[in-house]
Each structure stands twice: as C-alpha cells, then as structure tokens.
C-alpha cells in the first residue's frame, strides 16, 4: 500500500496577494468602487500637486521685503517670517521676550514628569502647576516687581496670549466645574436647582454674547469707579462659560463611579467633603481626563473669539497684519500659518486624549 502524500500547497493566485491583491480588494472590488477610486485619484491629482508646489516648491522663503516675493507664483512665507515675533509675542517689548520664553519653558520642564510612568509625585506636581505656576507666570508676564519692568496687558498678544487665555480658562474652570457638578448631584433641592440653572444658562448661550456681556455689562455691575482690565474681563467670561462645560464632564465621571464606592465611603464615617476628596473625585477625575482634554481643545479653538472684543490673540494679530500697506494681499499665507499652528495643537491634543481613552478603557477590548 502506498502512502498518500498530498501535493504541496499551491501558492495563492498572484492576483489576490501582494500589492495587486491589496488594490483589488481595497480599491477595485466592485465596478462602483472602481469608479469611486478613480474619481478620488483624479481629485487628488487635481488638488494635491498645486497645493504642494504653492506651499513648498514655488514658495519664497528668503528675503525681508515684499520684493522678494514679486516673481514667484507660490506662497510668500517672507510675510510670516518678518512678523513671526509679533505673531508669537504680540506687542511685548522685544527686550522682555525672555520672560515669555522662560514662562513657557518652565511649563514644559514642569509638565514632562507628569507623563513619565516612573515619577511618583504626580499629584503634588499637578497641584503645584495648577496653583503656583499661574502666579509665577503672571509675575513674569506682568512684571512690576523683582526688578522686572511692568508690561500692560494691552501689549500682550499673539500665540502667547492665546495660550494664556486657554490656560486660565482651564485652570479656573476646573475647580468651579467640580463644585458645580457636585452641586448638581446634591440632594439639597435649592443647591441643585441653582447649579442646574447656572450650568444650563452658560451652556445655552454662545460665547460671543458672553464676551459681549463681560465687556459691556460687567462694568455696569460693579460699583462706580472700579475699572477692570479688558483682558481680565474676557478671562472671567471665558472661565464662567467654560466651567459649565467642565461641570458636565465631571458629572459624567461622578455618575460612572459605582454606587458601592459612595456607600463604602459613607460606611467608613467620612464626611461629605472627605469622601469626595479622598474616594470619589480621585477616581472620577481620572476617568474624565479625556473629556477634560476635549473641552480644552474646544476652549483653545474658542479663544480666537476674543478677536471680536478687540484683544490681539494669534488670529487677531495675523488679521491686523493684513492691513499693513506694505504687505497687502498675503492673507492666504497668514491664514494658512495660523491654521497650521492651531491644527498642530488641537490635533496632537486630540490624539493624546484618544490614546488616554484607549488606556483607560481596558474593560471593553474586543
């Protein structure tokens, strides 16, 4: 009896593996997909090469004057280059730029350990950043003592102002949002309804009307003679507005904590604030970090609205640069520059929040 020896396996047909196979299954699987793919390729062919040549190949990078761009058909990055300091630092005196650099450098140095797994004192460091760092930064920006010259807030501007507005918004809205969220879940009817009304009010109106209100109405509310800085008024508006959104995010985290945790804290005899501070909030806040990052992204984009009440954030300072008679007609370059800066910030933050979400959602991995 002969032993049956099967033939060796045939290799898969060439048309179903490798590049061709990939194309067949991903691009040309049906006539309709084929048509769609070809149309998309045509679209890419129409748009991408001109954009690349405008942005890179035909663009002017060197020079200091408008004449440098006269002959080219591409983007004139010289416009951005000669004004880059203004775009970054606003009207801050040039000799004092180091103060802004120092402030943001300090933030980066302080922030790095937060992302290191091995670092032990994350909570303490975060508390330091949230409480003391803003004071240091305010000193650096505003000056007035320690031998630093005073710089008025009207001279703050550019990207640094955008970052300050976003930073203040998040730092001020977090504690307020936590209090509001706790209030909304409170069993005391009056406390609860006050919080609900507050949250729904701010969430129901557009930020512009809030900014209008803070710039037009706030002076009316205060006793005669109190004069408030325009920037501070905007910050108050942004912080109140943002705290309502933050409260909803925190509330989501509080609701996600199992009831047993609340009951266990009560059974241990902890007071309300102790059980919140030691048991519930540490867990809830950790859960909602992605949500907080997402509200921060929204806030970061919303800071551009201060343009309307006449503060010079990154977008506003670029917008006013278009009015320079020496540089008329380069608005597209300016907008593309601003858009790419905002995009880099927002996109990297959203990726970060997504990766966090994945890390925290270990229970549902399929």
């Amino acid at each position: 009896m002969s032993v049956h020896t099967p033939h060796p396996d045939l290799p898969p047909p060439l048309s179903s593996v490798g590049f061709i196979g990939w194309c067949r299954s991903n691009l040309f699987s049906t006539p309709m997909h084929t048509a769609l793919s070809l149309f998309a390729m045509y679209l890419i062919y129409l748009t991408v090469p001109p954009i690349i040549s405008w942005v890179f190949l035909d663009a002017t990078w060197v020079g200091d004057t408008r004449e440098a761009c006269a002959s080219s058909t591409g983007a004139c990055w010289v416009f951005v280059k000669v004004r880059i300091n203004q775009f970054m630092y606003g009207f801050f005196p040039e000799t004092e730029y180091w103060r802004i650099n120092l402030a943001f450098g300090l933030l980066i140095v302080l922030g790095i350990p937060l992302f290191l797994k091995r670092f032990q004192h994350k909570g303490k460091l975060a508390a330091f950043i949230l409480i003391f760092y803003p004071i240091i930064t305010f000193q650096l920006f505003s000056g007035g003592n320690f031998g630093l010259t005073h710089v008025e807030t009207s001279k703050w501007g550019g990207l640094s102002l955008t970052l300050i507005l976003a930073g203040v918004g998040i730092v001020a809205s977090l504690p307020l949002g936590i209090v509001l969220a706790l209030g909304r879940r409170s069993k005391m009817p009056i406390v609860k309804s006050v919080c609900v009304v507050f949250i729904e009010f701010w969430r129901g109106v557009p930020l512009i009307t809030v900014l209008f209100m803070s710039s037009v109405m706030l002076p009316l509310f205060l006793p005669e003679g109190t004069n408030f800085d325009k920037l501070l008024r905007a910050m108050i508006g942004i912080a109140l507005f943002q705290s309502a959104y933050m409260a909803e995010v925190v509330r989501g985290g509080l609701a996600a904590i199992p009831k047993g945790q609340y009951e266990a804290a009560e059974a241990l005899g902890l007071s309300f604030w102790k059980s919140m501070g030691l048991i519930i909030l540490p867990q809830a806040l950790k859960l909602v970090i992605p949500g907080i990052v997402n509200t921060f992204i929204a806030l970061f984009k919303d800071t551009t609205l201060v343009l309307i009440i006449g503060l010079f954030d990154l977008l506003a300072i670029i917008q006013q640069a278009f009015a320079d008679p020496d540089w008329l007609g380069y608005s597209i370059e300016g907008y593309v520059f601003a858009a790419s800066i905002f995009w880099i910030f927002c996109f990297s933050m959203s990726r970060y929040s997504m990766s966090l979400e994945k890390k925290l959602h270990t229970g549902h991995v399929r």
Binding site: A40, V205, T209, T304, L305, Y335
Partner: protein, 396 residues
C-alpha cells in the same frame, strides 16, 4: 436569666448642628441669602451706573426709529423702521443661516461619516483627512478665510464668473434666477399640501396593515408618486404658472434674480464644513455602535442587504447618532453668531452690535439676545429628552 438586664442604650442624639437635615436647611438658607445679596448688589450698582451715564432703562427703545440700514433682510426694512424690527430682522437672518447650515452640514456629515467607514481605502482616507483637518481648526479662522481670502478677492460684477448665463459669481455674491409665481400657483401649493397629508395617512395605514396581516405595501413608491405627481398635475392644469427672473448685468452691478451675499456664503460654507466634520464623527460612531452580530442575524433571517440596513442597522445607529446630532445642531446655531466678525447681519451683529451701540441699552439688549439663544437651546434639549425617552431600550 430573666433578671439579666440588657440595656440597649438609646443612641445619643447628635447635636443640632450635626444633624443632616438641619445642616442641609442651614446651607441652603445661606446659599439663598448669598445669591439674594449678590443679585441685589449687582442690581443697585447697575441702576446707579445707568443713572450716572444718563441711560434710561426699560424696553421703550424698541419703538424708536432705528435710523440705520441692514445689508440683507428677509423682512422689508429701511431706516425708518424701529429697533424692535432690527431684532426681528436679525433673528430671521440667524434662523436662515442656521437652517441652511444644518441642512448642508447634515448632508456633508452623513456622506463623510459613511465614506470614512467605506471598504474603499482611498475614499475612507480622504474622509479621514477631511474630518481631521477641519475639526481641528477654529471656526472663526475658517469663516475669516472663506470671506477675506476666497470670496472678497473675487473679480467685480463686470468680470463675474458666469455659468450658463444664469449664475454669476463675483465679489458682490452669487446671483441666480429667482422664481416668479404667477396667478394660479396657489393650486400647486394646495396640491402639495393634499399630497403630504395623504402620504402620511397612507404610510400609517400601510404600517398598521403590515403589523396586522404581514402584507407589505409599496409605501415609498406611492408616496413619491403622490408628492411629485399631484403638484405636477396641478402645475400643468393651470398652464405652468411659474417663470424665472434672470439676473442681468448692468452698468455697475447686477439687477434682478436673487443673490447670496458673500457674507452669507462665507458663513454658510464655513459652518457647514466645520459642523459637517463633527457630524461625520457622530455618524461613524453610531454605525460602529451597532454590533456586527445584528447584521449577521438579519442576514440569517433572510433579510436582503437593503432591508437589513433600513430595518436593523439604521434604527439602532440613529439611537446613538440623534443625540449627538442635535447637540451639533445646537452648536451650529450658537456658532452662527460668529457672523458678526464678517458683518453678516445676524442677531448678534445687528441687535447686540449696532442697536446696542446706538442705544446704549446694554442690559436689555444682551438679555434679549441671550434669551433667544436660551430659548432655542432649551427647546432643543426638551426635544432631546422626549426623544430619548421614546427610543429608550425597553430592557427585560
């Protein structure tokens, strides 16, 4: 052991200030007192300040003559109309841009959301790129870009980009023919109304019959036939009572037709593209939320792919999509207030801008503006609650 006394000591009553009920009342009284004090201070300060500046309070200014013109109005408006009328005009313009924006954003969002899930690699990549780019750039920047970098530099009316002698695109806006309703058009509208009512009745009847007997009825075809056929019939019977008013190029500007002013166009394009990216994400998450087992089960029951999508996947996906969708609609409506940055005459630009500056009635104007947005958002969230209750899964 009867004499052994078990003394169950009555738990000592806690001191008054330690009892939860007492504390809760105390804190709430404190809160109310604080709010009343705060509100009163603000009220007094405001009254004092207004008196100092010589601004009268109250809503009397609404009846005064406005004395300024508005770029685009849906109601007849000129300088002699009142401030109250500016409020209405602004409100209508806001609703117009919000309504159109919602329509286009939904369209873009659904197409892009489905495209992102497409099996076609290149299509899904393109959709991803669209979503990631436009979601992460501030809306105001996009509005300014479309207005100042794209639409304003367009050539003047004399060098308009002309399509087919009907559409003229220039820096004055997009001119297109406007319909002129002649005598007898009312019958077409009546026919449309009758067709709509009949369609609803037929759909209900067909649904009931299917529930009872299992017999299906070609509702979709019947409804399409009714809604298109009946008005068409009326249109033909009345001798086509509709003509078009074409825009004509004149010495300096265009005449006739209707126009989409560049401010509206820029706002609309930016709002639709920006919100569309968010809606696409909502659609994608909704479709992904329906587990694949549902599709497989439907196939196993013998449903065809079209019916599977219509009867099994979409109803379940909508449960996830609709709440996110309404919140995006709400955002779009609120974001339409950015119109003020490019001068589109919406509620904020006209009323909280020009009217406020002319009258100085900051408190009343801002309060009215905020009330409008609050009313819109509260009614939408009321709808949401109703909807959520309706579609809530009935669990065993």
């Amino acid at each position: 052991m009867a004499d052994e006394k078990r003394t169950v000591s009555e738990p000592a009553k806690p001191a008054l200030w330690r009892r939860p009920a007492v504390r809760s009342v105390f804190f709430q009284i404190l809160l109310v007192a604080g709010i009343v004090y705060f509100g009163n201070t603000i009220f007094q300060n405001t009254l004092n300040n207004l008196e100092q500046r010589g601004i009268s309070t109250g809503f009397g200014f609404l009846d005064q003559e406005a004395g300024f013109g508005i770029l685009m109005t849906l109601l007849p408006f000129d300088e002699t109309h009142t401030y109250g009328r500016t409020f209405l005009v602004g409100l209508l313009n806001t609703l117009l841009v919000a309504g159109l924006g919602i329509f286009f954003a939904t369209l873009i969002g659904f197409v892009m959301g489905v495209a992102r899930l497409s099996r076609n690699w290149i299509i899904s990549r393109l959709a991803t790129i669209y979503i990631e780019i436009f979601r992460n750039i501030p809306l105001l920047l996009q509005i300014l870009f479309w207005y100042f970098a794209v639409l304003r530099p367009l050539p003047g009316p004399r060098q308009s980009l002309i399509l087919n002698d009907t559409f003229y695109l220039s820096n004055r806006g997009l001119y297109m023919p406007s319909p002129v309703y002649e005598q007898g058009f009312w019958l077409v509208m009546v026919a449309l109304g009758i067709a709509t009512v009949a369609s609803i009745l037929i759909a209900r009847w067909a649904h009931k019959r299917q529930e009872a007997t299992g017999q299906q009825f070609h509702t979709v075809i019947t409804v399409i036939g009714l809604v298109i056929g009946l008005p068409l019939l009326a249109f033909l019977v009345m001798g086509m009572p509709l003509s078009w008013d074409f825009p004509v190029l004149q010495r300096f500007n265009m005449a006739g037709g209707m126009v989409i002013i560049p401010e509206l166009a820029a706002l609309l394009v930016a709002l639709s593209i920006y919100t569309g990216a968010f809606i696409a994400e909502a659609v994608r998450s909704g479709i992904l939320a329906v587990s694949h087992g549902q599709t497989e089960a439907a196939h196993a029951l013998g449903l065809r792919p079209g019916s599977t999508l219509r009867l099994v996947v979409i109803p379940q996906a909508l449960r996830v999509i609709i709440p996110q969708l309404t919140s995006q609609y709400l955002n779009l409506t609120k974001n339409s207030s950015l119109a003020t940055a490019i001068g589109y005459p919406d509620l904020v630009a006209v009323f909280a801008g020009t009217t406020l500056n002319q009258t100085g009635q900051a408190v009343e104007v801002i309060a009215m503006t905020m009330a409008v947005y609050l009313a819109i958002s509260l009614s939408i969230s009321m709808f949401m609650n109703w909807y959520n209750k309706r579609i809530q899964l009935v669990e065993r």
